[in-house]
Subunit: 471 residues, 2 copies
């Protein structure tokens, strides 16, 4: 034993092994070349030497960095030295692509070695026929457990749970439990608590490992058990489960079925992925894109972005229609055409600010009856304040640019109106959508910019028409 | 022992205790009324009865839902029945407000009871003078540990780490270790691994609790130890640490100082908060807002949003300047003024789509040398594809609306150009900012919409001027 032990694996450069990662933390090109050559020449020993002892997420990163046809080739070359867990680290599109290239026996064998949650994660993206073909080659006990998880709805806790866990009756002693754990063969690799159940598999409570460790052998489990406050239902949405984990800082939680029987275990590492996915989804929806991934194909991306652009087009055409109402005035005073996008743009930006905060607060459950009126009032005041400040700036600029004093007042008034509209739209639209059970992240952007475009153009051009008597 | 044990605490309605939460999962108004009355009348017993056994995050939610002056009043009324951990569940603004209202002895006493990471989390937001006043009232051993954490930079792993952990020498046996854990008094409440150290406090490796539990007492710790692959440096950014946790699915990790000595422990529950915060930050920056929270005051919000709006104003003025170049043409053909926002708006939207995906991929480290060219190429093709589709739609609409056949070609050509500009800007700007070590989430939006506005207006009005010979 020496300090050597703590040297990170990534930095190894023994013999002729190239470094795994370059200075930017990407898989190094020398590593990819060496591995590519091994795949090309079918050199199994070399391929295994290059990838052995690597963490599954590093293997995942390697697969991503390889050429498409090298990926299944590497997996077949490595044979049973390939840990299928690495596939859970990939984007869905890549994973499906690789799995479809592999013979179903290879997949079935690989999946069998996994914890049930990882196995389900890999199987759930495949179409029904491929799933069945693979499941048919897995022994019945494991197959039934996987099938049960797959029967739960997509994105439910039942899909994410692991069906390997330790459950003991309350009348066992600490010593019995420890002995059982020492002898049992197929225990999960990592666990943090022991479940206590009755003969009908109903959960009575849990005992944490450190509690178990710190208690003398003859003590009964029943004396150590603590209530399982935070049960997760297998049918519950994973987002709901993630919220429970976050709220109560859980590391793991029991999953129960409709009749309150213990069916699985959710752990924080799965939940971290869920939290990341949900945040990702919110960001993408606010930016007007669907659930695309970096590795998706051109056609898929173009198709999935089209509807959002189409909705934006409708908004833009509506704004253009409002402008069209003032064709006559624009012709008489072309300065209006030059200035009008400023009012609309500032409104759109201010509305997006308010909306972003509102959408996020709703997602995090931070907006409730106790503060919603205060927040609406605050946004209104902020909108008015910034409205007046920008009205003054833009008004002065308009006067300077066009030498028409009254034009300053017209654009200033329109700016105040539009920033107030932006504030109200930015907060009320997400709240209304949420009330209607529509995800505010999806639809708020278009609605808010529609409002600020219409109000911006209409108020500016309308005021101008009235003020200057342009008819 | 019975099934009663698993009834959730939240649902309790014994005696005269009102339900904690209403059907929307908010703190119920009847609960707030009852607690408010207890605070008003100084009824300590009643206040304690209402809040006892509640999870800290529920107590945090209650504090948030109370009136501002009731918050410190409740904490003082509860006395030592109040767990300061609840304050870690609040927004920073609220936490600071409450702490400033409380006498420093109360805070010092409350903070002493906490795990070091929670204590630091509460202290770090206070100004130096308040910090010192509180630290002065904490016994020296604890004070030194807290001070050492506070000396690490903001948002570093050292600030988030917990300084309570279990470390044993390699020559101890499993039995000795277990006995030590059974007898030690001030162990952390939750832990998942035991650290193995040399006499100089250098980390030799770790032993997981389940490994310890499943091994016979006479075995030496040295035989069980596994390398601590993933060390976290105390000075490292918390975001960096979070990435290590996510990449390697860690539950906890050792934190070491500059001389590789073990100084603390980071656990996944702290990391979950970091992941959430970072995602939050990305969302807010993309939406053009700073690090504001729902509970922030009007003035703070107005001030923090102003710079983003000001930058947008510059963008809008530049666009307006471009339009001004074509004043003459607009006067001759007012249809141009009516149609021009459509080209700019579609470009802005398409650019935002590409940028959102790019910013997110950069944040998640999914864009590297192996795929960046492919992704740029893909965005270009998607931009061209959607450009042609929308060119056809908008061209047809323009012809229908104004009866000028050539106007359809002009707007169609401008649309294609602008959607290509949007695609390139949307991907190249975030990449360039990242290369310049500027967070792409902060600045990309303004740059991208500047490009799409300028290109949109210039190409449409310019083509029109050329085509129709408007000079």
């Amino acid at each position: 034993m020496s300090d050597e032990m703590i040297i990170e694996r990534d930095n190894r450069v023994p013999d002729d092994l190239p470094p795994l990662r370059d200075e930017n933390d990407n898989i190094s090109s020398s590593f990819l070349e060496a591995l590519g050559a091994a795949i090309e020449s079918g050199n199994q020993e070399r391929a295994r030497a290059l990838t052995e002892d690597l963490h599954e997420s590093d293997v995942g990163a390697i697969l991503e960095a390889l050429e498409p046809d090298q990926r299944p080739a590497l997996i077949q070359l490595l044979g049973d030295a390939f840990d299928f867990t690495a596939l859970t680290e990939l984007d869905e599109a890549l994973r499906v692509e690789i799995l479809e290239e592999l013979p179903s026996e290879t997949v079935a064998e690989g999946v069998r070695e996994l914890d049930s949650d990882d196995a389900v994660y890999i199987l759930e993206d495949l179409d029904k026929a491929d799933q069945d073909e693979i499941l048919a080659q897995i022994p019945s006990v494991e197959r039934l457990a996987l099938k049960r998880s797959l029967d739960y709805p997509e994105d439910s806790a039942g899909r994410r749970m692991q069906t390997e866990f330790i459950a003991v009756p309350p009348f066992w002693t600490v010593g019995q439990t420890i002995d059982y754990m020492r002898e049992a063969e197929d225990l999960p690799e990592e666990f943090h608590e022991v479940f206590v159940i009755d003969p009908g598999y109903h959960l009575l409570g849990t005992v944490s490992l450190n509690r178990l460790l710190r208690t003398k052998r003859p003590i009964k489990i029943a004396d150590l058990v603590s209530e399982a406050h935070h049960l997760i239902r297998a049918t519950e949405d994973q987002e709901e489960a993630a919220r429970t984990f976050q709220r109560y800082n859980l590391i793991s939680a029991a999953v129960v079925d409709e009749s309150d029987r213990l069916v699985g275990l959710l752990t924080i590492d799965d939940i971290v992925d869920v939290i990341q996915e949900e945040a990702d989804e919110d960001i993408k929806r606010l930016g007007g894109v669907g659930d695309e991934e970096v590795s998706d194909k051109v056609w898929y991306i173009a198709k999935s972005r089209f509807p959002w652009l189409f909705i934006n087009l409708i908004t833009a055409v509506m704004a253009s229609f409002v402008i069209g109402l003032f064709e006559h005035q624009l012709q008489k005073m072309v300065a209006l055409a030059v200035l009008m996008p400023i009012v609309a743009s500032q409104g759109g930006n201010a509305g997006t600010q308010t909306m972003t905060v509102a959408v996020r607060a709703i997602a995090m459950r931070e907006l409730g009856p106790h503060n919603v009126l205060r927040v609406i009032g605050r946004e209104l005041v902020v909108g008015m304040f910034n409205g007046f400040v920008f009205a003054a700036i833009v008004g002065a600029m308009a006067v300077y640019r066009f030498g028409i004093f009254d034009l300053g007042f017209v654009i200033a008034a329109a700016m105040v109106i539009n920033l107030i509209a932006a504030a109200l739209g930015g907060i009320l639209i997400p709240l209304a959508l949420n009330r209607l059970k529509i995800d505010p992240a999806v639809a708020s952007s278009s609605f808010v910019t529609t409002i600020t475009d219409l109000v911006g153009f209409f108020s500016f051009l309308g005021f101008a028409a009235l003020w200057f008597g342009l008819t």
